[in-house]
Symmetry: C2
Subunit: 328 residues, 2 copies
Amino acid sequence: MLKIAIDAMGGDNGPSPIIEGLLLALKKNKNFEAIAVGNKEELLPLIPQKFDHRIEIYDCNDVISMSDSATDALKRKDSSAYIAIDLVKTGVADAYVSAGHSGASMSLATLRIGRIKGVSRPAIATLMPTVDKNTLVLDVGANVDCDANNLKEFAIMGQVYAEDVLGIDDPLTGLLSNGEEESKGNEVSKEAYKLLEHIPNFAGNVEGNDIFNGSTDVVVCDGFIGNIMLKSAEGVADTIGKIIKNNLKRSLVSILGAVLMRKVFKSLKVKVDYAEYGGAPLLGVKAPVIIAHGKSNAKAIQNAIFQAVAAAQSDLKIDIENRLQQYK
Amino acid sequence: MLKIAIDAMGGDNGPSPIIEGLLLALKKNKNFEAIAVGNKEELLPLIPQKFDHRIEIYDCNDVISMSDSATDALKRKDSSAYIAIDLVKTGVADAYVSAGHSGASMSLATLRIGRIKGVSRPAIATLMPTVDKNTLVLDVGANVDCDANNLKEFAIMGQVYAEDVLGIDDPLTGLLSNGEEESKGNEVSKEAYKLLEHIPNFAGNVEGNDIFNGSTDVVVCDGFIGNIMLKSAEGVADTIGKIIKNNLKRSLVSILGAVLMRKVFKSLKVKVDYAEYGGAPLLGVKAPVIIAHGKSNAKAIQNAIFQAVAAAQSDLKIDIENRLQQYK
């Protein structure tokens, strides 16, 4: 039976939403079991007895907090993140999920579980919504300075993830740039363009708006730009919501309008709610590692666990290794 | 009398919206005159006789089209952009406005009008909306690869523009990065951080969402990232609009709701409509140069002209020169 190791202590709101999300996931999917790593005294009361046979608690007394340095993670051997990662490293568990310190999860996964053969640097991928589908964007934060070869590897890893886990055939892949023409780009992206021309389904340069119009399936950039793009997108959505709310308050007619439109706003909210997407996979390590928002609610954790299960049931690792070898 | 040179032939929709915007601007502001550079036969019928004394037509027969290369701009000496720029260079006009080929305008302005003393590279600045104010972001496209010193100069030019033209005292200035901590950033931005610590009103690193929450007045980044951020923001706003429209169609109740909310949507539209902001100033050249969208309507051109007038009436050039010298 598939086993998912869960860092039950990470996350801004303690173990409650993590365990709640795990229970939701276990109810909906009978094909996996979990190892919840964390303080037994805190976790036990959160788990109904009927889940005893599907959740094993691995007791530990340390947790890497958001304010700790990621570089200390390797020394914190009794922390929930360290132990959960090691359960995957030793093969006791098949995948890892954490809403804790993302830098610590990345370091531990990269250094303890290890990189897939051919991967220079693992990358964090995330799904961005468009009107009728999603776009997988990577890297969104693991690697701040990248060279052209890193970007090429991200493209290949993103394509394999899109195929194996998201079920997209021949995922069209763009290179994020400041214009569509081949001549556009900064030094690194222009060099990457030349490398990417040799991989299948390369769509050339794409612009920021292309991420949100669904013209490609995978978009590649360095983690500095990916993070700025992601946060900017969140900022725009937040600001639009606030402007609407502030203007609503000025008239009863508008408020009535908003009530009548509530189904529309609900559909929109579902589209832009991170919780619907779960977490972000760290691609390029030897086992599925899903990094969830620190503020994850139960639904986000449930979906992060589903991502871990789907990735663990796929041939992601071997396919990434083979594809990188093929287009070396 | 202040004279604005207008490239009347640039723009996706020919001279009509340009002249229409100019007429709007002239009606509302009596303190300037214009030189419209373009084909006299095309322009004359667009200008009512009563504006004859405030609009001079400078006849020419060439226009740099959007598909032309910016590098050819310097050879196209009979083009509307070249001539309008030269009217500023020779002091016949005080500022330049164009909705034509932005690369051509940038090259011509930089090479013909010339850079302000102390400026390594001019930068394009643009206003991004927040709930209750705007954030000036630069560079959004002039310089794809930048070093730390370029970013420092952008910060200083942005601050002076915010003070002199936007009327903001002590403009708080952030460096766009992947996290707020000083340790965050890529190689160039970390180096820039150290330089920026020596200028006043430096707010440290800011994230993508900070552009849209109004926490700072000026945000600095390289033109590659600025372009991606700008296009991503436009993409998010477009996609939210489309999701709302698509969902509206599914129910009459929702459509009624939207009708009742139309004032709210109108306020939102005003906030995110580029036409409200006019164009983007190219900061660092010796005279005000305003680059408008190719698709500019009359309102956008009117506002671009107002920006040119405001910049020409300010001490922008001398203040940028002095401030750069002061924080060299």
